[in-house]
Amino acid sequence: MCLAIPGRIVEIVEDLPQLAMVEVAGVRRQVNVDLLRDEPLGPGDWVLIHVGFAMSRISEAGAQEQMRMLEMLGEDEQAMQEIQGYGFGQAEH
């Protein structure tokens, strides 16, 4: 629960600016980026995601390190399940 998942912002959702589409190892889901509202955030930026919320902006190198560490801790599969499990940004709203 304490380990964050790194993702790359693909786009900020236009009509709901607190949501952004992120990509994690090829999987795209919307996450909430409201906690980073004080930072200029755009496509190509990397963030650490925690229970559906982007918590910090990080560098690309930092994101790669974090993913590698999740793999080494054996938590990468669980992390991908979590990303795939986020349903709140999906269409049927």
Binding site: V51, I58, E65
Partner: protein, 373 residues
């Protein structure tokens, strides 16, 4: 060491380990607590204890949310889950936490409407999709997860979702550290500070550790090199006779924390007068509850919960392990009655729990080695 070669930079790891051995005076014993369960997991996974001199002891701290939650709170949550019309939601870790009459997963198997979610926003969405039911989210975690619950509640209010509420079990790390420092017989020399909690609260709240108790604390990242570098920084402080808050994880942790997250916490939550922690007992002002303005979304006010104090199974010594009095394998149930597959105690549930981490990386490796012999 076993894992050194798979590290990103084995040379830097060896250098840091050598520096630790150089700094650790042979005539003294060092006790350093890593507060965060994520660090505990990494320390066992990477076999870091094997890189440290024998007189540098790592003590596992209280930073594993499901580990410190007393069983009575799980029972309270499950009492709500069994009410007609309720859909009860929780994170995956919570699903396996033992209650008096079994875990949420076992209650689900017996027919309770319990669903696992990965985000509190998914619990809120479930409420919107089922207007005829009431969706309760079992909120748990330190300051890392509390802002997401706060934003979800703000969203629920904004959207006017009336069939959603939160059973709040959020705790705060500072009072727990203070309780440990205040406990009689406390023999810690320093702390490895939590990484992701600190992205929210920043480094300033730790200042009392240095100023009032004269102990160093270094906020640390989770990679092996991060943890070893943090230990180097701690040993340097101890060697110089300094006690300061230092930030090894500055690439992620801002000194002032995350202001929008802190504002959301302030708006939605207030401190409970006291809260019970497994192993640490009752700690004043150590947990969050919803403010009156959010009473409508507070499961504890909407539903009657038993609120009974439940003691852990007698044989399980979770509390002693949490206090650092016992190492995981010294518990009578460890690896026999209590395993990650069938946890009796909460420390065996989460990968951040000291028992589960020890079991996965030390106990199994030792068992495999003895088979090979």
């Amino acid at each position: 060491m076993r894992y050194v070669d798979e590290f990103r930079d084995p040379k830097l790891i060896r250098q840091a380990a050598a520096e630790i051995r150089r700094l650790a005076r042979p005539d003294r014993h060092y006790r350093v607590m890593e507060v965060c369960g994520g660090h505990t997991h990494a320390i066992y996974r990477f076999g870091l204890e094997g890189l440290l001199p024998g007189n540098l002891e790592l003590i596992h701290g209280p930073g594993c949310p499901v580990c410190v939650l007393p069983m009575g709170r799980t029972d309270d949550g499950l009492a709500i889950a069994e009410l007609p019309g309720v859909i009860f939601t929780a994170f995956g870790d919570v699903m396996r936490v033992p209650g008096t009459k079994g875990s949420p997963l076992e209650h689900k198997a017996r027919g309770a409407e319990i669903r696992m979610v990965y985000s509190p926003l998914d619990a809120l969405k479930l409420a919107q999709a089922h207007p005829d039911r009431h969706v309760v989210f079992f909120a748990i975690g330190f300051e890392t997860t509390a802002p997401s619950t706060a934003l979800t509640l703000l969203r629920a209010r904004q959207l006017g979702v009336a069939n959603f509420s939160v059973f709040c079990n959020h705790v705060t790390i500072i009072p727990a550290i203070r309780a440990i420092l205040d406990s009689p017989g406390m023999r810690l020399d320093a702390f490895v500070g939590p990484g992701h909690v600190s992205t929210v609260i920043g480094c300033r709240p730790y200042e009392f550790i240095a100023e009032d108790f004269g102990k160093p604390i270094v906020v640390s990242g989770f990679e092996p090199l991060d943890i070893l570098q943090s230990l180097v920084m701690i040993l340097r402080q101890l060697a110089d006779g300094r006690a300061e808050v230092e930030n090894q994880y500055a690439r992620v942790v801002p000194w002032e924390g995350n202001l929008p997250a802190l504002r959301a916490l302030e708006e939605v939550f207030e401190l409970r007068p006291y809260f019970e922690w497994r192993g640490l007992g009752f700690i004043s002002q150590s947990a969050l509850k919803l403010r009156d303005a959010f009473a409508e979304w507070d499961a504890e006010r909407r539903f009657t919960v038993p609120g009974i104090r439940v003691t852990d199974p007698k044989a399980a010594q979770c509390g002693e392990v949490l206090k650092g009095v016992l190492k995981p394998p010294q518990c009578k149930l460890f690896g026999r009655e209590c395993t990650p597959e069938r946890p009796v105690g909460a420390l065996m549930v989460s990968s951040e729990g000291a028992c589960a981490a020890y079991y996965h990386y030390v106990h199994r490796a030792a068992a495999a080695a003895s088979l090979e012999r």
